[in-house]
Symmetry: C2
Subunit: 177 residues, 2 copies
Protein backbone atom coordinates (compact mmCIF):
# COMPACT_ATOMS: atom_id res chain seq x y z
CA UNK A 1 0.00 0.00 0.00
CA UNK A 2 1.03 3.59 -0.59
CA UNK A 3 0.51 6.03 2.28
CA UNK A 4 0.77 9.81 2.33
CA UNK A 5 1.78 11.05 5.78
CA UNK A 6 0.97 14.67 6.60
CA UNK A 7 2.43 16.57 9.56
CA UNK A 8 0.10 19.57 9.49
CA UNK A 9 1.24 23.14 10.03
CA UNK A 10 0.58 26.62 8.72
CA UNK A 11 4.24 27.60 8.18
CA UNK A 12 5.53 24.13 7.28
CA UNK A 13 3.31 21.20 6.39
CA UNK A 14 5.43 18.03 6.22
CA UNK A 15 4.54 15.61 3.40
CA UNK A 16 5.90 12.07 2.97
CA UNK A 17 4.92 9.16 0.76
CA UNK A 18 5.92 5.63 1.70
CA UNK A 19 5.10 2.38 -0.06
CA UNK A 20 5.20 -1.14 1.30
CA UNK A 21 3.64 -3.71 3.55
CA UNK A 22 4.08 -5.00 7.08
CA UNK A 23 7.07 -7.34 7.27
CA UNK A 24 8.65 -6.17 4.02
CA UNK A 25 11.12 -3.34 3.36
CA UNK A 26 9.41 0.03 2.97
CA UNK A 27 10.27 2.45 0.17
CA UNK A 28 10.42 6.24 0.21
CA UNK A 29 8.47 7.57 -2.78
CA UNK A 30 8.62 11.30 -2.06
CA UNK A 31 9.20 13.70 0.79
CA UNK A 32 8.95 17.47 1.17
CA UNK A 33 7.32 20.41 2.85
CA UNK A 34 4.55 22.79 1.82
CA UNK A 35 5.60 26.22 3.08
CA UNK A 36 3.58 29.40 3.45
CA UNK A 37 4.89 32.78 4.49
CA UNK A 38 3.50 34.71 7.44
CA UNK A 39 3.37 37.83 5.23
CA UNK A 40 0.25 36.36 3.60
CA UNK A 41 -3.18 36.53 5.24
CA UNK A 42 -4.22 33.27 6.91
CA UNK A 43 -7.03 32.52 4.39
CA UNK A 44 -4.50 32.78 1.52
CA UNK A 45 -2.01 30.60 3.41
CA UNK A 46 -4.71 27.96 3.89
CA UNK A 47 -5.55 28.06 0.18
CA UNK A 48 -1.85 27.50 -0.62
CA UNK A 49 -1.77 24.51 1.74
CA UNK A 50 -4.95 23.05 0.26
CA UNK A 51 -3.60 23.35 -3.31
CA UNK A 52 -0.33 21.80 -2.21
CA UNK A 53 -2.01 18.81 -0.54
CA UNK A 54 -4.28 18.35 -3.57
CA UNK A 55 -1.23 18.28 -5.84
CA UNK A 56 0.53 15.67 -3.68
CA UNK A 57 -2.57 13.45 -3.61
CA UNK A 58 -3.11 13.79 -7.36
CA UNK A 59 0.53 12.95 -8.10
CA UNK A 60 0.94 10.01 -5.73
CA UNK A 61 -2.61 8.62 -5.52
CA UNK A 62 -2.16 7.18 -2.01
CA UNK A 63 -4.32 4.30 -0.72
CA UNK A 64 -4.56 6.09 2.63
CA UNK A 65 -3.65 9.41 4.20
CA UNK A 66 -2.22 9.47 7.73
CA UNK A 67 -2.46 12.78 9.59
CA UNK A 68 -1.02 13.68 12.98
CA UNK A 69 -3.75 13.88 15.58
CA UNK A 70 -3.59 17.33 17.16
CA UNK A 71 -4.33 18.01 20.80
CA UNK A 72 -5.09 21.37 22.33
CA UNK A 73 -1.83 21.59 24.19
CA UNK A 74 0.10 24.38 25.80
CA UNK A 75 1.44 25.70 22.49
CA UNK A 76 -1.51 28.03 21.99
CA UNK A 77 0.21 30.34 19.50
CA UNK A 78 0.41 27.70 16.76
CA UNK A 79 -2.48 25.37 17.61
CA UNK A 80 -5.08 27.19 15.51
CA UNK A 81 -3.04 27.10 12.30
CA UNK A 82 -2.10 23.47 12.94
CA UNK A 83 -5.74 22.51 13.51
CA UNK A 84 -6.82 24.33 10.35
CA UNK A 85 -4.11 22.67 8.26
CA UNK A 86 -5.04 19.24 9.66
CA UNK A 87 -8.69 19.87 8.75
CA UNK A 88 -7.67 20.66 5.18
CA UNK A 89 -5.59 17.47 5.00
CA UNK A 90 -8.63 15.45 6.11
CA UNK A 91 -10.96 17.20 3.66
CA UNK A 92 -8.61 16.82 0.68
CA UNK A 93 -8.45 13.06 1.27
CA UNK A 94 -12.08 12.50 2.27
CA UNK A 95 -13.59 14.26 -0.73
CA UNK A 96 -11.69 11.84 -2.99
CA UNK A 97 -12.89 8.89 -0.90
CA UNK A 98 -9.38 8.13 0.37
CA UNK A 99 -9.39 6.72 3.94
CA UNK A 100 -7.93 9.07 6.55
CA UNK A 101 -6.33 7.87 9.77
CA UNK A 102 -5.15 9.99 12.67
CA UNK A 103 -2.16 8.91 14.73
CA UNK A 104 -0.97 10.64 17.89
CA UNK A 105 2.65 11.79 18.19
CA UNK A 106 3.29 9.15 20.87
CA UNK A 107 1.84 6.38 18.67
CA UNK A 108 4.17 7.47 15.88
CA UNK A 109 7.21 7.65 18.16
CA UNK A 110 6.42 4.23 19.64
CA UNK A 111 5.89 2.68 16.21
CA UNK A 112 9.15 3.83 14.61
CA UNK A 113 11.46 3.86 17.65
CA UNK A 114 9.81 1.61 20.23
CA UNK A 115 9.66 4.58 22.61
CA UNK A 116 6.59 6.80 22.83
CA UNK A 117 8.70 9.61 24.27
CA UNK A 118 11.48 9.58 21.66
CA UNK A 119 12.81 12.99 20.62
CA UNK A 120 12.85 14.44 17.07
CA UNK A 121 16.44 13.30 16.45
CA UNK A 122 15.64 9.70 17.43
CA UNK A 123 12.55 9.63 15.21
CA UNK A 124 14.53 11.11 12.32
CA UNK A 125 17.33 8.57 12.78
CA UNK A 126 14.87 5.65 12.80
CA UNK A 127 13.06 6.94 9.70
CA UNK A 128 16.45 7.15 7.96
CA UNK A 129 17.24 3.54 8.89
CA UNK A 130 13.80 2.12 8.12
CA UNK A 131 13.74 3.68 4.64
CA UNK A 132 17.48 2.99 4.05
CA UNK A 133 18.25 6.62 3.25
CA UNK A 134 21.71 8.18 2.97
CA UNK A 135 20.78 11.17 5.13
CA UNK A 136 18.09 12.21 7.56
CA UNK A 137 15.17 13.92 5.79
CA UNK A 138 14.98 17.63 6.66
CA UNK A 139 13.33 19.64 8.05
CA UNK A 140 11.93 17.68 11.00
CA UNK A 141 8.38 18.15 9.65
CA UNK A 142 9.33 16.10 6.57
CA UNK A 143 10.79 13.30 8.71
CA UNK A 144 7.68 13.37 10.91
CA UNK A 145 5.45 12.99 7.85
CA UNK A 146 7.41 9.89 6.79
CA UNK A 147 7.16 8.52 10.34
CA UNK A 148 3.37 8.95 10.15
CA UNK A 149 3.22 7.02 6.87
CA UNK A 150 5.45 4.23 8.27
CA UNK A 151 3.28 4.04 11.40
CA UNK A 152 0.16 3.71 9.30
CA UNK A 153 1.57 0.84 7.25
CA UNK A 154 2.90 -0.98 10.32
CA UNK A 155 -0.31 -0.62 12.27
CA UNK A 156 -1.84 -2.45 9.29
CA UNK A 157 -4.89 -0.27 9.11
CA UNK A 158 -6.01 -1.63 12.51
CA UNK A 159 -6.92 1.87 13.64
CA UNK A 160 -8.99 2.47 10.50
CA UNK A 161 -10.87 -0.81 11.02
CA UNK A 162 -11.57 0.05 14.67
CA UNK A 163 -12.86 3.51 13.73
CA UNK A 164 -15.06 2.12 10.94
CA UNK A 165 -16.54 -0.40 13.39
CA UNK A 166 -17.13 2.34 15.98
CA UNK A 167 -18.80 4.56 13.39
CA UNK A 168 -21.03 1.68 12.24
CA UNK A 169 -21.99 0.87 15.83
CA UNK A 170 -22.77 4.53 16.58
CA UNK A 171 -24.80 4.85 13.39
CA UNK A 172 -26.78 1.71 14.28
CA UNK A 173 -27.36 3.06 17.80
CA UNK A 174 -28.55 6.33 16.30
CA UNK A 175 -31.06 4.58 14.03
CA UNK A 176 -32.49 2.56 16.93
CA UNK A 177 -32.86 5.55 19.25
CA UNK B 1 -22.78 45.24 0.49
CA UNK B 2 -23.81 41.66 1.13
CA UNK B 3 -21.97 39.81 3.89
CA UNK B 4 -22.02 36.14 4.81
CA UNK B 5 -21.37 35.64 8.51
CA UNK B 6 -20.12 32.23 9.60
CA UNK B 7 -20.07 31.02 13.22
CA UNK B 8 -17.88 27.95 12.74
CA UNK B 9 -18.50 24.63 14.42
CA UNK B 10 -18.31 20.93 13.67
CA UNK B 11 -21.79 20.03 14.96
CA UNK B 12 -23.53 23.29 14.05
CA UNK B 13 -22.04 25.89 11.72
CA UNK B 14 -24.16 29.07 11.86
CA UNK B 15 -24.70 30.83 8.52
CA UNK B 16 -26.27 34.28 8.05
CA UNK B 17 -26.47 36.65 5.07
CA UNK B 18 -27.13 40.34 5.66
CA UNK B 19 -27.30 43.12 3.10
CA UNK B 20 -26.99 46.86 3.64
CA UNK B 21 -24.70 49.75 4.43
CA UNK B 22 -23.64 51.75 7.48
CA UNK B 23 -26.36 54.20 8.48
CA UNK B 24 -29.15 52.47 6.55
CA UNK B 25 -31.51 49.69 7.59
CA UNK B 26 -29.97 46.23 7.18
CA UNK B 27 -31.84 43.34 5.56
CA UNK B 28 -31.79 39.66 6.41
CA UNK B 29 -31.26 37.67 3.20
CA UNK B 30 -30.91 34.16 4.64
CA UNK B 31 -30.10 32.39 7.87
CA UNK B 32 -29.54 28.78 8.84
CA UNK B 33 -27.21 26.16 10.18
CA UNK B 34 -25.07 23.49 8.55
CA UNK B 35 -25.31 20.42 10.78
CA UNK B 36 -23.19 17.29 10.87
CA UNK B 37 -23.76 14.26 13.02
CA UNK B 38 -21.15 12.88 15.39
CA UNK B 39 -21.86 9.40 14.02
CA UNK B 40 -19.83 10.36 10.94
CA UNK B 41 -16.03 10.36 10.93
CA UNK B 42 -14.48 13.84 11.29
CA UNK B 43 -13.10 13.94 7.73
CA UNK B 44 -16.59 13.24 6.36
CA UNK B 45 -18.12 15.87 8.66
CA UNK B 46 -15.61 18.41 7.39
CA UNK B 47 -16.44 17.56 3.78
CA UNK B 48 -20.14 18.12 4.57
CA UNK B 49 -19.34 21.52 6.07
CA UNK B 50 -17.18 22.49 3.12
CA UNK B 51 -19.92 21.55 0.64
CA UNK B 52 -22.48 23.46 2.69
CA UNK B 53 -20.37 26.63 2.84
CA UNK B 54 -19.65 26.39 -0.88
CA UNK B 55 -23.39 26.15 -1.59
CA UNK B 56 -24.17 29.21 0.57
CA UNK B 57 -21.45 31.25 -1.15
CA UNK B 58 -22.58 30.16 -4.61
CA UNK B 59 -26.20 30.99 -3.85
CA UNK B 60 -25.67 34.36 -2.17
CA UNK B 61 -22.45 35.60 -3.80
CA UNK B 62 -21.40 37.73 -0.81
CA UNK B 63 -19.02 40.69 -1.16
CA UNK B 64 -17.27 39.60 2.02
CA UNK B 65 -17.24 36.69 4.45
CA UNK B 66 -17.01 37.39 8.20
CA UNK B 67 -15.82 34.51 10.37
CA UNK B 68 -15.63 34.36 14.15
CA UNK B 69 -12.01 34.55 15.29
CA UNK B 70 -11.34 31.50 17.45
CA UNK B 71 -9.07 31.51 20.45
CA UNK B 72 -7.57 28.48 22.12
CA UNK B 73 -9.74 28.75 25.20
CA UNK B 74 -10.62 26.44 28.02
CA UNK B 75 -13.19 24.52 25.97
CA UNK B 76 -10.65 22.00 24.73
CA UNK B 77 -13.18 19.35 23.70
CA UNK B 78 -14.64 21.41 20.86
CA UNK B 79 -11.79 23.74 19.92
CA UNK B 80 -10.27 21.42 17.30
CA UNK B 81 -13.49 20.99 15.32
CA UNK B 82 -14.23 24.70 15.59
CA UNK B 83 -10.76 25.59 14.33
CA UNK B 84 -11.06 23.14 11.44
CA UNK B 85 -14.48 24.48 10.43
CA UNK B 86 -13.19 28.08 10.59
CA UNK B 87 -10.27 27.13 8.36
CA UNK B 88 -12.70 25.69 5.80
CA UNK B 89 -14.80 28.87 5.92
CA UNK B 90 -11.69 30.93 5.16
CA UNK B 91 -10.57 28.63 2.35
CA UNK B 92 -13.99 28.51 0.67
CA UNK B 93 -14.04 32.32 0.52
CA UNK B 94 -10.37 32.92 -0.27
CA UNK B 95 -10.23 30.52 -3.21
CA UNK B 96 -13.02 32.53 -4.87
CA UNK B 97 -11.16 35.79 -4.15
CA UNK B 98 -13.81 36.92 -1.64
CA UNK B 99 -12.32 39.01 1.21
CA UNK B 100 -12.39 37.30 4.59
CA UNK B 101 -12.48 39.18 7.88
CA UNK B 102 -12.21 37.72 11.36
CA UNK B 103 -14.04 39.34 14.25
CA UNK B 104 -13.65 38.32 17.89
CA UNK B 105 -16.73 37.42 19.95
CA UNK B 106 -16.28 40.57 22.06
CA UNK B 107 -16.04 42.77 18.95
CA UNK B 108 -19.30 41.27 17.72
CA UNK B 109 -21.04 41.68 21.08
CA UNK B 110 -19.84 45.28 21.35
CA UNK B 111 -20.93 46.10 17.80
CA UNK B 112 -24.50 44.78 18.04
CA UNK B 113 -25.26 45.46 21.72
CA UNK B 114 -22.77 48.11 22.83
CA UNK B 115 -21.48 45.67 25.45
CA UNK B 116 -18.49 43.41 24.72
CA UNK B 117 -19.66 41.04 27.48
CA UNK B 118 -23.28 40.68 26.36
CA UNK B 119 -24.77 37.19 26.70
CA UNK B 120 -26.29 35.08 23.93
CA UNK B 121 -29.84 36.24 24.69
CA UNK B 122 -28.87 39.92 24.48
CA UNK B 123 -27.05 39.40 21.18
CA UNK B 124 -30.01 37.48 19.79
CA UNK B 125 -32.46 40.18 20.90
CA UNK B 126 -30.38 42.94 19.29
CA UNK B 127 -30.02 40.98 16.03
CA UNK B 128 -33.80 40.57 15.99
CA UNK B 129 -34.31 44.33 16.45
CA UNK B 130 -31.59 45.40 14.01
CA UNK B 131 -32.97 43.19 11.24
CA UNK B 132 -36.63 43.90 12.20
CA UNK B 133 -37.47 40.21 12.56
CA UNK B 134 -40.65 38.81 14.10
CA UNK B 135 -38.76 36.29 16.20
CA UNK B 136 -35.21 35.61 17.37
CA UNK B 137 -33.28 33.45 14.89
CA UNK B 138 -32.57 29.99 16.30
CA UNK B 139 -30.39 28.22 17.20
CA UNK B 140 -27.93 30.68 18.82
CA UNK B 141 -25.32 29.77 16.18
CA UNK B 142 -27.59 31.21 13.48
CA UNK B 143 -28.12 34.46 15.43
CA UNK B 144 -24.36 34.67 16.03
CA UNK B 145 -23.69 34.34 12.31
CA UNK B 146 -26.07 37.26 11.62
CA UNK B 147 -24.36 39.29 14.35
CA UNK B 148 -21.02 38.65 12.63
CA UNK B 149 -22.39 39.89 9.30
CA UNK B 150 -23.91 43.00 10.95
CA UNK B 151 -20.61 43.70 12.73
CA UNK B 152 -18.72 43.46 9.47
CA UNK B 153 -21.01 45.93 7.69
CA UNK B 154 -20.97 48.38 10.60
CA UNK B 155 -17.20 48.26 11.01
CA UNK B 156 -17.21 49.35 7.35
CA UNK B 157 -14.45 47.04 6.26
CA UNK B 158 -12.01 49.00 8.49
CA UNK B 159 -10.55 45.76 9.76
CA UNK B 160 -10.04 44.43 6.24
CA UNK B 161 -8.27 47.65 5.21
CA UNK B 162 -6.01 47.50 8.27
CA UNK B 163 -5.10 43.87 7.58
CA UNK B 164 -4.44 44.57 3.89
CA UNK B 165 -2.14 47.46 4.86
CA UNK B 166 -0.35 45.27 7.43
CA UNK B 167 0.12 42.47 4.87
CA UNK B 168 1.47 44.94 2.29
CA UNK B 169 3.89 46.43 4.83
CA UNK B 170 5.07 42.98 5.91
CA UNK B 171 5.48 41.87 2.29
CA UNK B 172 7.54 45.02 1.54
CA UNK B 173 9.66 44.38 4.64
CA UNK B 174 10.18 40.79 3.50
CA UNK B 175 11.39 41.90 0.07
CA UNK B 176 13.88 44.32 1.61
CA UNK B 177 15.27 41.83 4.11
Amino acid sequence: MRVLGIDPGLTRCGMGVVEGEVGRPLTLKDVGVIRTTSTLAVPDRLVTIEKGIDAWIDEHRPDAVAVERIFARSDVSTIMGTAQASGLAMVCAARRGIPVALHTPSEVKAAVSGNGRADKAQVGAMVTRILRLDAMPKPADAADALALAITHIWRGGAQARIEAAQAAALAAAGRNR
